[in-house]
C-alpha cells in the first residue's frame, strides 16, 4: 500500500493524527511526531503517534535542544541510534530526559519544501539501532509528505487564522505564552525574558514547561 493509501484509509479523510501513525508505521519506528517550527517560531506538534513521542517533542520545545531542533536548524537528518551509549555526547538536558520517557534511539528529519523550512519529523525507537537505508529513504519521503500536508492544512484555514489541527497542536505552547504574559506583568520584564525565566524554572525543577505554565496560570506559582 502506498503512503497516500494508508493516509486515506477506509472511510477516513486523513487528518493530522493519522499522518503520524502512518509515519511511524511506514518507517518502522516505535513512534513519530511532527514539530512545527515555522520561521524559527515554535508552533507545537500538529500530531504525535503516541504519548512518548508527544513527550519527546515537548522536551525539545522546552529545552530548545534535540535531534529535531538540530535537524531543522541544519537542514539535514540528525540521527542518534543509541541515546544511552552515544558515539557523540550531545543534548545534555534532552538525552537523559528522552531516555526516561522511553526512547532509546531517536532521529530528526527536517520538514521542508525547497527553501521553506517548516520544522522536523521526530522519529523514535524504544530499542537501540540505526535506521536501515530503506528506512532512511522512507523517512525522507515521509518528511516530504508531512511538509505538503502541513501546508494543505493551513490552506484550509480562513485568512489570518491557523488551521484547526495546527491550532490544537499548539495548545500547550499557547499556555506557555499566556504564562509568559503573566510573568512579564508580575516582574516587569519583557515577554521574551519571562519565557526564559519559565524555562529555567522548568529545567531546574525537571518539569515540563507546560506544567510550570499551567501552575502560573492557575495562580499556584508566582514569580513576583
Amino acid at each position: 500500500m502506498t503512503i497516500l493509501q494508508k493516509l486515506r484509509g477506509p472511510g477516513e479523510t486523513g487528518g493530522a493524527a493519522r499522518l503520524c501513525e502512518v509515519g511511524a508505521e511506514v518507517v518502522g519506528t516505535s513512534g513519530a511526531g511532527v514539530m512545527l517550527m515555522a520561521d524559527g517560531v515554535a508552533g507545537g506538534s500538529p500530531c504525535s503517534s503516541d504519548a512518548v513521542s508527544a513527550t519527546l517533542e515537548e522536551l525539545q520545545f522546552t529545552l530548545g535542544e534535540g535531534p529535531c531542533i538540530d535537524a531543522h536548524r541544519l537542514g539535514f537528518p540528525v540521527l542518534e541510534p543509541d541515546l544511552k551509549n552515544p558515539d557523540n555526547k550531545r543534548w545534555i538536558g534532552f538525552a537523559p530526559a528522552a531516555l526516561a520517557a522511553g526512547a532509546r534511539a531517536i532521529f530528526g528529519f527536517p520538514i521542508r519544501l525547497g527553501s521553506i523550512r517548516l520544522g522536523a519529523l521526530n522519529l523514535y525507537c524504544d530499542g537501540a539501532g540505526s535506521l536501515t537505508d530503506d528506512q532512511h529513504a522512507v523517512a525522507l519521503v515521509m518528511a516530504d509528505v508531512v511538509a505538503r500536508a502541513v501546508l494543505a492544512m493551513q490552506a484550509g484555514a480562513p485568512a489570518g487564522t491557523l488551521s484547526t489541527e495546527i491550532e490544537q497542536g499548539a495548545d500547550r505552547l499557547f499556555v506557555v505564552h499566556q504564562a509568559s504574559g503573566m510573568v512579564s506583568a508580575q516582574i516587569g520584564v519583557s515577554v521574551g525574558e519571562a519565557l526564559l525565566r519559565l524555562r529555567a524554572h522548568a529545567f531546574a525543577g525537571e518539569q515540563p514547561l507546560s506544567k510550570v505554565a499551567s501552575n502560573v496560570i492557575a495562580g499556584r506559582l508566582r514569580f513576583g
Binding site: V41, G114, L118, A170, H177, A185
Partner: protein, 238 residues
C-alpha cells in the same frame, strides 16, 4: 552554436525556474523561438487551456502566427484545439490534404502561408495545460526524432511552469502560516498580561481585548501587540 549545444542550452533555459523574475510567458517564448530554430519552422505558438475551459493564445513566434491562433479560437476549430481537447498529438498534417477537416481554419492558414502543421500536448499527469503548435510553409514532414525532441521540450516547459506555480503556492501558504502563528502567539501573550494586571482569567482577558479591538475598529493582533509593547495599558482597555 551547433544543434546539440542549442538543444542542451534550450533544456537549461526552460528549467531555470529559480530566477526571481520567472515568467510563464517568457518560458513559453523561449520554447517557441527555439523550436522555430531547431526544427526550421515557419512559426510556433503555445495555446493554453484556460482554467475554466476557455483556451487562450500564449506566446507566439510571429504576429502572423498569433493572428492565426486567435482565428483558430474564434472559429472553434483547428489542430491546436483538437490537441488540447484530446490530449493527443497532431503530427505532420499537410493542410492541402486534410480531407475537409477544419473547413474554416484551413483556408485561413494556407492564406497566411502555412502548409503543414503539428500540435503537441503540454500535459502533466493527466492534466492538459495547453498545446505547442508548429507550422511550416512546406509539406516537409518532421522526423520521428524531431517530434520526440519537440515533445520533450514541451514537457520540460510544462513541468517548469507547474513546479514554479507549486513553489509559489507553497511560499504563500508558508507566509500565511507563519503570520497566523505570530499573531496568535502575540494574542496569547497579551491575554496573560491582561489576566495578571486585571486579576482576571484568560477568557475574561480575551473578551476584554476583543471588545476593545472591536469598539476601536482595530485588529485583535494589533491591540495585543500594543499591550505587549506597553503602548496600551491594561487599564485603558475599557
Amino acid at each position: 552554436m551547433n544543434r546539440e549545444a542549442l538543444v542542451a542550452q534550450t533544456f537549461v533555459s526552460l528549467t531555470d525556474t529559480l530566477v526571481d523574475d520567472f515568467d510563464i510567458v517568457e518560458v513559453h517564448s523561449v520554447l517557441v523561438e527555439r523550436c522555430v530554430e531547431l526544427f526550421e519552422l515557419t512559426a510556433a505558438a503555445v495555446m493554453l487551456a484556460g482554467p475554466d475551459g476557455d483556451p487562450r493564445v500564449g506566446a507566439s513566434s510571429s504576429e502572423a502566427m498569433h493572428l492565426l491562433e486567435v482565428f483558430e479560437l474564434q472559429s472553434q476549430e483547428g489542430p491546436c484545439l483538437d490537441c488540447i481537447r484530446s490530449g493527443e498529438p497532431v503530427v505532420n498534417e499537410d493542410l492541402e490534404h486534410v480531407n475537409g477537416r477544419w473547413p474554416t481554419f484551413v483556408p485561413a492558414a494556407l492564406a497566411a502561408g502555412f502548409r503543414s502543421v503539428h500540435a503537441l500536448p503540454m500535459r502533466l499527469r493527466g492534466t492538459t495545460l495547453g498545446a505547442l503548435n508548429m507550422y511550416k510553409s512546406d509539406a516537409e514532414p518532421l522526423s520521428t526524432e524531431e517530434v520526440l525532441l519537440a515533445q520533450a521540450l514541451a514537457d520540460v516547459a510544462t513541468i517548469a511552469v507547474m513546479q514554479h506555480q507549486a513553489a509559489r503556492d507553497a511560499q504563500v501558504l508558508n507566509e500565511q502560516l507563519t503570520h497566523a502563528l505570530h499573531s496568535r502567539i502575540t494574542i496569547e501573550q497579551a491575554k496573560g498580561i491582561v489576566a495578571e494586571r486585571g486579576h482576571q482569567d484568560m477568557e475574561q482577558a480575551f473578551q476584554r481585548l476583543r471588545s476593545y479591538a472591536r469598539r476601536n475598529n482595530l485588529k485583535l493582533a494589533d491591540v495585543a501587540q500594543r499591550v505587549i509593547d506597553g503602548t496600551l495599558v491594561v487599564e485603558a482597555l475599557e
